[in-house]
């Protein structure tokens, strides 16, 4: 048997055959790209979905076909209500997120640097973090009324705690050797903070942004349960109340696209700011 490969166990290796090729045993366990698979998957998904409706397998009410969702979306775009809703929601997400993020980063920085702030903050944050913000809506109405402030508060509170955690963990992950280096060259405390700690914590803080952005998106729906006339969340809630499932899915589609857009923007930001990685 001149062609038997060698790296097995039960081979007649003692037979002194002059030479046997080394058997290949590597490969696999790497993920290669499939450029068109994703597109194909979407096309197939949408085609199947559409046809289940066309052939009457599923009622329109239970799962409106993509064509119905698309036309609901087109109608929204045409009469301008889409932009009105989007504008209202983006404003709430924007203001709420910025408020929660600024406050969260301030507290997170304090906890990242100060021992006392850390000791006090960690247990408080871990106690408040797991509270579903939706449960607090009635209190937010009491505290902030039914106007925009309570909506900002809902989103802001939701964003605040994860930002705190992301910020102080990010500061913890700044390599201590860089700080020692700066000290050994006599850099003053404020310079170390500005030139070493802040940029070193940036990757972790940006990763936190990714999480808080998706939290803000989730909470805008909850926030718009409170007397909102416009807003994608309000639109989706109304569609749900009215059992207009095609509009509901159109609204959900907008939310999904909004999420993807925010994710993409953050990716671009990360690539820009963290190109040193």
């Amino acid at each position: 048997m001149p062609d038997t490969p060698l790296t097995g166990t039960s081979l007649p290796l003692q037979d002194r055959s002059p030479s046997q090729p080394v058997r290949f045993r590597g490969g696999g366990f790497t993920v290669k790209g499939h450029r068109w698979a994703a597109l194909l998957a979407f096309v197939v998904l949408i085609a199947v979905w559409e046809s289940t409706n066309r052939f009457g397998l599923v009622s329109e009410l239970f799962l409106p076909p993509p064509s119905a969702v698309a036309s609901a979306l087109a109608a929204m775009a045409q009469d301008g209500s889409l932009w009105q809703h989007l504008k209202a929601s983006l404003m709430r997400i924007g203001v709420g997120w910025v408020m929660g993020t600024v406050a969260g980063m301030a507290v997170g920085f304090a906890m990242g640097i100060g021992s006392v702030a850390r000791a006090v903050g960690v247990p408080l944050v871990s106690a408040f973090f797991p509270i579903p913000k939706i449960a607090l809506l009635p209190l937010f109405i009491l505290w902030f009324g039914i106007g925009e402030p309570s909506k900002f508060a809902t989103i802001g509170f939701g964003v605040f705690f994860p930002t705190v955690i992301a910020t102080y963990s990010a500061i913890d992950s700044v390599p201590r050797n860089l700080i020692r280096m700066a000290q050994s060259f006599g850099l003053p405390w404020a310079s170390i903070l500005r030139k070493i700690v802040l940029p070193g914590a940036l990757p972790g803080i940006l990763a936190g942004f990714r999480i808080t952005a998706s939290i803000a998106l989730i909470l805008v729906v909850a926030a718009e349960m409170i007397g909102a006339e416009y807003g994608i969340g309000a639109f989706v809630l109304t569609a749900g109340n009215l059992m207009l499932t095609d509009q509901l899915l159109a609204g959900v589609l907008v939310l999904s696209l909004l999420g993807l857009t925010i994710g993409t923007v953050l990716s671009i930001l990360e690539r820009r700011l963290l190109k040193w990685r």
Binding site: S59, E60, L61, P138, I141, L142, G145, I146, G147, M225, I226, G227, A228, E229, A234, L237, T238, N241, L242, M243, L244
Partner: protein, 312 residues
């Protein structure tokens, strides 16, 4: 115990308006028809037709919302008998103005034009009541600002916080607001704009495939309805509501079913038509209204949401 009985279920809210069902169940009218009816309690009118559409329950009885008509337009539900109505002399829902708005000149329902009014949700019965008021006094819902608060308690919170000028509130809430002095009752919806508040409904599939069941159900329901009407909707010569036969017994049944004190129940017993006939014209008006609001498909034929063959 209920051997040989046909099983069926109905979704209801724990409100006095579901009284005829509670009576029929409690007094065994369903069993007499050979039915073992399971009462499933819901917390919002919105969910009941959805539960019928999803097959969780066979029947439902609640107020009529835009969501109901959307389900009806997709062929998921159809009305087969009337439930309660807003009717002159029966105090179910009130227009309540805040103290500040009242002081500023909001004194009668017609003045609500141009004001901020809290409602539960878009497409709710409160939304239609605002529309009806407008139809009567020559304005549209565009002329008022409706603030959707999801549920009655949050409506009240917005009202007390002075963030709206008025609410349309259920009787108990309205009375309490008035008693506290935080609001003034401007009038009652029943007096101002009578309409068909609620209905008994099922899915067209049940009608088509289990018609005998539906007929037996309606029959028992109508028995309860008639008893309810006799006990609670009787009027004396002057037009005032008086206690009818079996008042106390039936009130106790409803109080037990709704887990409320009898006094509270007694304060908000709505009017029902004893034969279960729907106000067809009002249903048509509702559909037209929702269509004009853009909340129900324009193609829906108002007549198609009712099956009038069960109630003669």
């Amino acid at each position: 115990e209920a051997q040989g009985l046909e099983k069926t279920s109905i979704g209801v809210l724990a409100l006095a308006s579901s009284g005829p069902i509670f009576i029929a169940k409690s007094k065994g009218y369903f069993e007499k028809e050979g039915l073992d009816v399971d009462l499933k309690m819901f917390t919002s009118a919105q969910q009941v037709p959805v539960a019928v559409a999803s097959g969780d329950v066979d029947f439902g009885v609640t107020g009529l919302t835009a969501g109901f008509y959307n389900l009806a337009s997709k062929g998921a539900v159809t009305m087969i008998a009337a439930q309660s109505r807003d009717e002159p002399g029966f105090q179910l829902s009130a227009y309540v103005a805040t103290k500040a708005a009242h002081d500023a000149g909001l004194t009668k329902p017609a003045d609500l034009k141009g004001k901020r009014i809290a409602i539960t949700t878009v497409g709710s019965t409160f939304h239609y009541m605002v529309g009806l008021l407008g139809q009567k006094h020559g304005f549209t819902v565009k002329d008022v600002t409706m603030v959707a608060m999801q549920d009655v308690p949050k409506m009240v919170a917005a009202f007390k916080g002075g963030q709206v000028d008025a609410v349309i509130a259920p009787v108990t809430v309205a009375r309490q607001l008035a008693a506290e002095g935080s609001g003034t009752i401007l009038g009652w919806v029943g007096d101002e704009t009578p309409w068909q508040l609620g209905a008994l409904f099922t899915s067209p599939k049940t009608v088509a495939q289990r018609r005998p069941l539906a007929e037996k159900f309606v029959s028992a329901y109508l028995t309860g309805l008639a008893e309810y009407h006799a006990a609670f909707n009787a009027k004396d010569a002057s037009g005032a509501v008086v206690k009818g036969p079996g008042y106390d017994e039936l009130l106790a049944i409803i109080a037990e079913a709704t887990k409320q004190k009898p006094e509270v129940v007694a304060a908000g017993l709505p009017y029902v038509e004893p034969k279960g006939k729907l106000l067809v014209d009002d249903i048509v008006n509702q559909v037209k209204f929702w269509q004009s609001e853009g909340q129900v498909d324009k193609a829906l034929d108002a007549k198609s949401v009712m099956d009038l063959t069960f109630v003669k």
